[in-house]
Amino acid sequence: MAEGQEQTELVRRARSRDQAAITRLYGLYGGTVFGIARRMLGSVEDAEDVVQDVFLGLPAALATFQGRGSLEGWVKKVTVRTVLMQQRKRRTFQKFLHKNVGAVSTRATVPRVLDHLTVDDAVTKLPESWRVVWTLKLEGYAHHEIARMLGITASASTMRFHRACKRLREVLDY
């Protein structure tokens, strides 16, 4: 079966909630979704939640997939939006608890002891707003697209990306 046909068939089966198709999609894109979510959220546990949401929601969401671009690109976009939604949810909840209890420790980034710091490890240490822009840039979005997604100006996106790069270079000694 040609690759395009195979993709169409996979999408059709996933839309009808065929578990084998969902498993196949997970095999193809699970790592990508997890990677994007982990970079943007800086937490393995939160990233797992995103992976779960994305793959549970795919059967319904695939109804909007027109097949014009690659399925991987579409899944990445949906992942990014899901993460942004997750962050809003988290921020709102933190704000709520903060008002009631003062300081709140929410789910922390998993502590690591590392001999060697990778770029991904260093990214998890960035402030959230820099980390998000960094990840989106790495996913190939232009600053004006990032700006639209985050509701900021393109120059703010540029500035955050620059600061992220600067911090990473310092930490990683680039």
Binding site: G151, T158, R160
Partner: protein, 724 residues
Amino acid sequence: MVFHPRGSRLTEYAVGELSDQHTGRIKRHLARCARCRRTVSAVRKLLHDGADQPDAVPPPALLNRILQAAESGWDVILPVADPPVRLGSARAFAWLTVVLVGVASVVATTLWVSELRADRSELLFAEPHLLPGREVAVTYRGTSLFHDEDRLVLRARYRTVDDEPYNRAGRHVMAGELRRVGRGAFEGTARLPDEAVYAVFTVEDAAGRVVDSNRQTFWELLLQEGKHPAFEALLQRINDHSGRSWQVAYETTQLMTALYPDNPNSWAHRVAFERFVYPDGLTDSLQAVYRARFDELDRRWNPQEHLPAHVLAGMFSFASTLEGRGSAHAEKWKRRLLKEAPRNAVAIGYAVLDVRNWEDPEQYFVDLDELWARVGPHRTIAMVAYLVAVRTEDYAQLIRWADRFEAMDPFDGLQIAIRLSTFSASRESGIRRLRHQLRLLDEDAEATRPLGRTVNWHRQQIDARRREILSALGQALLMTGDQEAGLLALELAVQNTWNVLAFGALASARLAVGDTLGAADVTAAVVVDPTTPPAVRDSLTHVALDLVDQPSWTAMLRAARASMYAHVLESAVAIRVPSGVRVYDLRGQRRSWRDLVTGRVTVVGTVFRYGSALGRVMRVHEALTRAFGNQVQMIGLSADARSAVDGASPFQLDAPFPVVENPSGELREVLNWWGIPSFFVLDATGVVRFARSSDGDVLRQVATLLALEDQSIVADNPAGAEQP
């Protein structure tokens, strides 16, 4: 002096996002500046290395979790379009949680076809009915839910002819093993005990961590009699669906009357169900049919001597449900039942009523003892005597009958232990029983795991039960003066939970050992809980302010409130009710569900014509009004079906809140609610945030939603303010 471009410009250049106008100048600068060239190449290398990171690997167990959630009908609505970037408070909730919609459906099936097909998996038995004590070949065609498994377990809950309604302490067995025989297919054999007449099945992995419960409807087998399910199997099917689905139970009574029209119990069950779901008058046209059937059976059985107990009990029950307990027919069959079949369960129930004597409790116990000796040990006698002892505070009788009651029904052991531990005369016995209950928790937990539930789910239930026991034990130990042990038990009981009673006892215990700060701290939890009556709240506040100063107390209240909210939010869900859901008031007028439930926090309470559910809803409504005024509203959702005869609403309820019904049943499906009296708490946008809540939980959940909505939360610009 050399002027270097700004760092951000170099970064923009490095990623190819600089305008043509600036690009030329940067290029010219880079041609002569090694330092800036290093910056650009470092940014490019960083991006390259970042993109080149090995693919992260999600934990292997995650896929199973996802497939299991998908299997049980969980759905998530993903943001396939860019979300709006700034949200007002009313809309903030919309982004708070990904929408999870639990979807369940009852699979309609012809009863005597043994396999009930789920959308994606099926369980097939070589023999399409239950063959107790014999091995039967089984095939399971699963999905990728068990893609890593080579061996699965077929678990069953079975019922015998004597089992009672509800599934409080089901008989669970591992009915067989299934081995993988091909892609997604498993085969094996199943065997059920000799005494089984009805059984329901699930398929799970060997560790019990992943369960295919056919969307909580299970697969079922019924004992066959000739070409049809046996009467006893149908009866146990009704009992098994008690608390699960009265609709299925009612349909089974209809089948009973079709298959066993000569058995008076068939009609007694059917008429009882119709009395339950329809009000007087609505089934009048059916009454003539039932009466003719009763007269026919009465003519047939009345002249005969030595009738079987089940016929006597059936005729009495049929007459009682059709004509009332005091009717001439009911009295006639009751006399025969009590005389000719005194050990029959229905007979015992009425014999217990006959010896009722509140004027002379001592004589009451003598009569109950005599009945116990005459008809033999029976749960009803033990339970009634135990409750009489509680009410009359006769502790000697209490301990004596508690032993008999527990022997008849070990499932009630914990409640008996808690009850005994509260009275000083029976406290030692209560404490001993509570410790025994603690030990039981760790013994054979698998036998008590409900069918369709995972081992992890069950472990959480056991932990909650352990905390309940520790709370009662701690309070009892304090009453005996054992401060140290009592304090320890209570400290353990309140870990990771919200238990107002335990908090109150712990406050006293901490105070007794001089821990004033700790006492005030836990008192704050009692004070902020909305179920605490205002007078108690005031007096506790006075006590606390003797222990700590006002600023500390204010901080403690704030922390307690946040802790309560956090505990409450742990059980939050997000179920969106479709806007087109059709609801009608009890006059039959169509109402807009959206209009009914938006604008304010809403509690939906399910109301029934019979039983205690209506009283509960009224009480919760009063408590809500007292605690929150008009910030919250109550809506009654009628659980009664419309009349099959004229389509009229089952009853006219004079309630101080709107009552609606949803005859087409969408709400039942969306809420995954099948008739158990329940509360659902909705936020001001109409999204269900808490499902199937208990009375006390409702108040805490409403308090949490109101607090949350009171924050005027504006979900920030997702990127937040510019970092300093």
